[in-house]
Amino acid sequence: MKKILPLLALGLLAGCTTILETGDRIERGLTPPDAVNYATTKPEGGFSTQLNDNRIGNKIELLAARKSKTDGGYSRVQFDLRNGAYLSQTINVSFEWLAADGSVTESQPNWIVTPLEPGALTTITATALKAQSAECRLRLISR
């Protein structure tokens, strides 16, 4: 009995810890969480980026941002993303819409998980619901 109880305690203690099973888990344990990055369309065309996590530059390429109008006159933006790495990546995106004065008019806050094979392209399409929505701000996190 005396031997069993300490052993039981040890077992419970082991169960409390996080076991790093794979390389990915070890990486998660050692590196800070991925920061959110932004790409915002500009009124004159094209887009600007705000990279808060330089690691994303080695993984995902933002190739283009195309702005257009729907038949009803609402803004629509398409962002082309490419996995430029040799490994599969998962990119998570969400977006919000801005009025001409920069105020936020609407948002889609939940993350859309998009797995991408090496070299794969994907197009994220965002259509505004409000007429005053002019520019689209894409939010990106890798993994």
Partner: protein, 179 residues
């Protein structure tokens, strides 16, 4: 010694739990379950279907009158299907893109009693759908796919003018936290 060991065990058992904390419902630290549709799955499918729906010609101009039809839950999980529909109707109504008919018995009776009065809106479109699931496994790895299907029916002609299907697939050996 025996008492000490028992005390140590009790302390360890109590210390094992993770205290509950508040999380961002749109954040990256939500529980991902293999055997059920998570709240973020409704949000993902709903927002993607909303984007598809507003791109359809039926929503190109004005605010069409929409009535919600039935959403069949054909999964083993018990949930309220308004978790999906609200992700579509809330942004549309708040942006003034649809006129949403109230669906309770009183509202339906009032509309029926009003006949064809011009000031009482009648449904131009009905949104209906189905949620299905598919499960499979390979060894200890389990995979769950949830299929969200929506159809927009034009009442006047009785034809489907928009359809969309979104899949959410999750794979793993156990539930986890995060993407």
């Amino acid at each position: 010694m025996n008492k000490l060991s028992l005390l140590a065990c009790a302390v360890l058992i109590v210390g094992c739990g993770t205290p509950a904390t508040y999380k961002d419902p749109n954040g990256r630290e939500l529980v991902v379950s293999l055997d059920k549709v998570n709240i973020q799955d409704f949000a993902t499918a709903g927002s993607q279907m909303l984007q598809s729906m507003v791109s359809s010609p039926s929503f190109s101009k004005g605010a069409p009158v929409l009535q919600l039809g039935s959403i069949t839950n054909d999964t083993a999980d018990n949930f309220d299907t308004s978790l999906l529909l609200s992700k579509i109707t809330v942004p549309l109504v708040n942006a003034g893109r649809v006129t949403l008919l109230d669906n309770d018995a009183t509202a339906n009776a009032a509309r029926a009693a009003s006949g064809s009065k011009a000031d009482v809106p009648h449904a131009e479109y009905v949104l209906k759908g189905k949620i299905l699931e598919d499960r499979s496994n390979a060894g200890s790895t389990r995979q769950s796919s949830f299929v969200f299907q929506l159809t927009l029916v034009e009442v006047k002609r009785g034809v489907a003018v928009w359809q969309e299907e979104k899949l959410v697939t999750k794979q793993g050996t156990k539930n986890a936290v995060g993407f």
